[in-house]
């Protein structure tokens, strides 16, 4: 419960700040799906809470108000006229449908944010296998289970699997997508500031499924660049030492 409350507070903060920052300061030409997720979740939570509490209050009131008072008392619900009977179908149908389309429109908007990857991205290839995540950077650097990325730049993963189905889940970035043999799928996320984030497998992939985890380490851009160059040189270096032998 405390988790839920904390999340609500955080969300209320986002709801106030985020539209402001992206329109006025124009810091980034795309919407961060993780923040969009938190906002839409908040809207949907309010929506379903209102419906649920309304139904529960009405049902609770009926249960209390119409409790049996005499042993052989019968119910006395009125007969509905045809107009009332049709009205009780048509009106709720339109109310529910309006709500459905409202949610669908918002869900679709956020969906497009999730599926349209910004052009200035860092694109990393991911091959998953029982029970590890193998990442390959554009310059050929390979890492396992620990993905280093620069803060402030969108990261895209192009994913496939060498055995069973896995799902690359980053709870902090509100995103996952399955990786499977024979197909390539993708996801992207926006690491806005340095930090560490858990990656974990979300699709049952075998006996050691629950131990298939790693982390995403978000570094300040300069620090990442230094690390990235160093790794690239190490590959180049190992290639150079190999060449004479060949």
């Amino acid at each position: 419960m405390s988790g839920t409350l904390e999340r609500l507070h955080r969300l209320a903060g986002y709801a106030a700040i985020v539209p402001f920052s992206s329109t006025v300061f124009g810091a980034q030409p795309f919407d961060d799906p993780a923040r969009g997720w938190d906002r839409l979740w908040y809207d949907v939570l309010v929506d379903i809470s209102v419906i649920g509490i309304a139904f529960a209050l009405v049902a609770g009131y009926f249960v209390w108000r119409y409790r049996r008072r005499a042993p052989d008392q019968q119910g006395s619900s009125p007969r509905l006229s045809t107009a009332m009977a049709v009205g009780w179908v048509v009106v709720p149908t339109f109310v529910f449908m309006a709500d459905d389309f409202f949610l669908a429109a918002n869900g679709w908007k956020l969906w497009n944010d999730y599926r349209q990857v910004p052009a200035e991205r860092l694109e990393v290839k991911l091959e998953s296998g029982m029970y590890a995540w193998d990442y390959t950077y554009p310059n050929g650097v390979k890492v396992q289970n620990e993905l280093r990325v620069p803060a402030g730049r969108p990261v895209m993963l192009r994913m496939t699997s060498r055995d069973t189905i896995h799902s690359h889940f980053i709870p902090d970035f509100r995103v996952k997508e399955d990786s499977m043999p024979g197909r390539v799928t993708y996801l992207w996320f926006y690491p806005d500031k340095p930090g560490e984030h858990v990656v974990t497998c979300a699709e049952y992939c075998g006996i050691m499924h629950s131990y298939m985890s790693g982390k995403i380490i978000v570094l300040p851009a300069a620090e990442f660049d230094a690390w990235y160059q160093q790794q690239a040189q190490r590959i180049a270096g190992s290639n150079r030492t190999k060449t004479p032998e060949a």
Binding site: L40, R68, N106, W108, L110, I165, F169, K176, Y204, H209
Partner: protein
């Protein structure tokens, strides 16, 4: 010995029903035990009961497969449909009594196969979903899974043929489509879906067995197959399967609520329209189980809209249910308590499903405890509460004796507290990222206290259900004699003597023109309870 023979070779719909009930409760007991074992395992980080994740995965497999295929579907479409529908519609028996007997044999064979999980050296560990490639490369016994599903599926198909025919052609004169019990409508809808969709499930699980044991390559991409084909086939059945459970259980709840509120079902035709609506959309929403599976974007968006539209027929049915309480005369007996519990649980379960209809929200929620919490509320727990309430409701009719009212209520409150502790907490940590199907959660140590709280809740559930069952056993042996119609219901199944005599010699009710199964109060004015006619009339 002859009694045993009489029961095994019975073609009487009531006995077939009771056999379904006993078999499904046995499956429920074992599958429930698996849930308790899993909860104990998860109560601390690292190994608790076992250090072997493979052991845990077998519990997980058996819990899911047995609860859905061995308990809920057979209890609802096997027990309730068999026991009550011929009585409710004034038929002497079902249309094909021998087929009916055969279906219960298949069901028991399926239960025995499922229980072999604990005997074979290589138990299945493919979850109830059996996704390839894992199911085709595991050392677990995928064939056992396939044949369990096939046997239970065939039992269901035979039930479908039988009940669609029975309901369509064997209603007593005067029991028109407009005077059918809501439960009969619900079962009619459920069996239409079983007939259409079970063969697809049968195909899917047969193909994984072909792939694993006969060297075919339906789902192996390196040889031209595709892993996603299976998921599409599987969920094309398994989403409608949710409604195969939902419709009959909400039908049972309608019967209980109408009887204990002594009230006409609110806007009967609206509720029937809701049932038809669910059957119609059931086959167009399966992709919401594949929102993170790498399906094409257009179909994920398309089925977001169809999935959201389910809220309309379901909403109409809930309005019908809550409306039935309006101006009722509500008696809080044990069956009614369980039924009102279903209304509450279903509200939470149904509404927490709305975020899961939206693909963008599902990118975070899918495959987490949030999903597990949601579907336990909406289907697993609400359905089980309806089954327990329904068994309490028909208990006097089946056994001729009464259960203990106080124990029944205590059992309810234990269970009700337990399920809310477990599944509300589950949704909360799922929202924070706890993935499902985990044997251990070293990467999420912050969830340990929540896991312990859930294990405590599971204990309450165990005590509650055990009390409820003990109450039945004690009531059946020692309870007070029950009258023919202890609840004063107007529905036809309550006009029979208690317990109902075997089908061939049974006296059939005479249905008057103004009779209605929900003809209470003003609605019942002038309506008479159908009086038993003399034999052969």
């Amino acid at each position: 010995m002859s009694v045993l023979k009489e029961w095994i070779f019975t073609t009487d719909h009531k006995r077939v029903g009771v056999l379904y009930l006993i078999g499904s409760l046995a499956a429920f007991a074992v599958a429930g035990l698996m849930a308790i074992l899993m909860r104990i395992e998860l109560s601390s980080l690292g190994p608790t009961l076992t250090a072997n994740p493979a052991q845990y995965n077998v519990w997980l497999y058996f819990h899911g497969a047995a609860m859905i295929l061995g308990f809920q579907i057979p209890a609802l479409t096997g027990f309730f449909a068999n026991y009550t529908i011929p009585l409710m519609i004034g038929a002497r028996d079902v249309a094909f009594p021998r087929l009916n007997a055969f279906s219960v044999w298949l069901f028991y064979a399926g239960i025995v196969l499922a229980l072999l999980t604990f005997v074979v050296p290589d138990p299945p560990d493919v979850m109830w979903t059996g996704y390839p490639p894992y199911s085709t490369i595991t050392s677990g016994n995928t064939a056992l899974y396939t044949f369990t599903v096939l046997l239970l599926g065939f039992a269901s198909i035979l039930g479908g043929v039988n009940f669609l025919t029975t309901i369509a052609y064997m209603r007593a004169p005067g029991v028109t489509w407009g005077k059918l019990n809501i439960f009969v409508w619900c079962t009619f809808g459920a069996f239409i879906m079983q007939l259409v969709f079970v063969p697809v499930l049968g195909t899917a699980v047969t193909l994984i067995t072909f792939d694993k044991y006969l060297g075919t390559n339906f789902f192996d991409p390196s040889k031209g197959g595709d892993v996603l084909t299976y998921q599409n086939l599987f969920w094309f059945y398994s989403h409608p399967a949710v409604y195969v459970i939902f419709l009959p259980y909400i039908g049972v709840v309608f019967e209980v609520v109408a009887t204990f509120a002594k009230n006409h079902v609110f806007n009967y035709k609206m509720v029937v329209a809701g049932i038809c609506g669910i059957v119609l959309v059931s086959g167009e929403v399966w992709v919401h189980h594949l929102y993170v599976s790498g399906m094409a974007d257009w179909i994920r968006i398309g089925q977001m809209i169809t999935t959201l539209l389910i809220s309309i027929p379901v909403g109409l049915m809930v309005i019908g249910l809550v409306g039935t309480l309006y101006k009722g005369s509500i008696d809080f007996r044990t069956p009614m308590l369980w039924a009102l519990g279903v209304v509450f649980l279903f509200l939470i379960g149904g509404l927490t499903g709305i975020p899961l209809a939206i693909p963008s929200l599902t990118l975070h929620l899918s495959d987490t405890y949030y999903v597990v919490g949601h579907f336990h509320y909406v289907m697993a727990v609400a359905g089980t509460f309806a089954i327990f309430g329904g068994v309490y409701y028909y208990f006097p009719k089946m056994t001729g004796r009464m259960y203990n009212e106080t124990v029944g209520k205590i059992a309810f409150w234990f269970t009700f507290a337990g399920v809310n502790i477990v599944f509300w907490t589950m949704m909360d940590i799922g929202l924070d990222g706890m993935p499902r199907r985990y044997f251990d959660y070293a990467q999420f140590p912050q969830f340990q206290s929540a896991q312990q709280f859930m294990t405590f809740g599971a204990g309450l559930i165990g005590v509650g259900f055990a009390l409820a069952v003990v109450n039945w056993i004690h009531g059946a042996l020692r309870g007070q004699r029950a009258p023919d119609n202890p609840w004063g219901s107007k529905s036809l199944e309550w006009t029979t003597p208690t317990p109902p005599p075997p089908s061939p010699g049974r006296e059939m009710p005479v249905i008057t023109a103004d009779w209605h199964p929900y003809g209470y109060g003003d609605r019942g004015e002038g309506a008479t309870q159908p009086a038993p006619a003399s034999a052969g009339a």
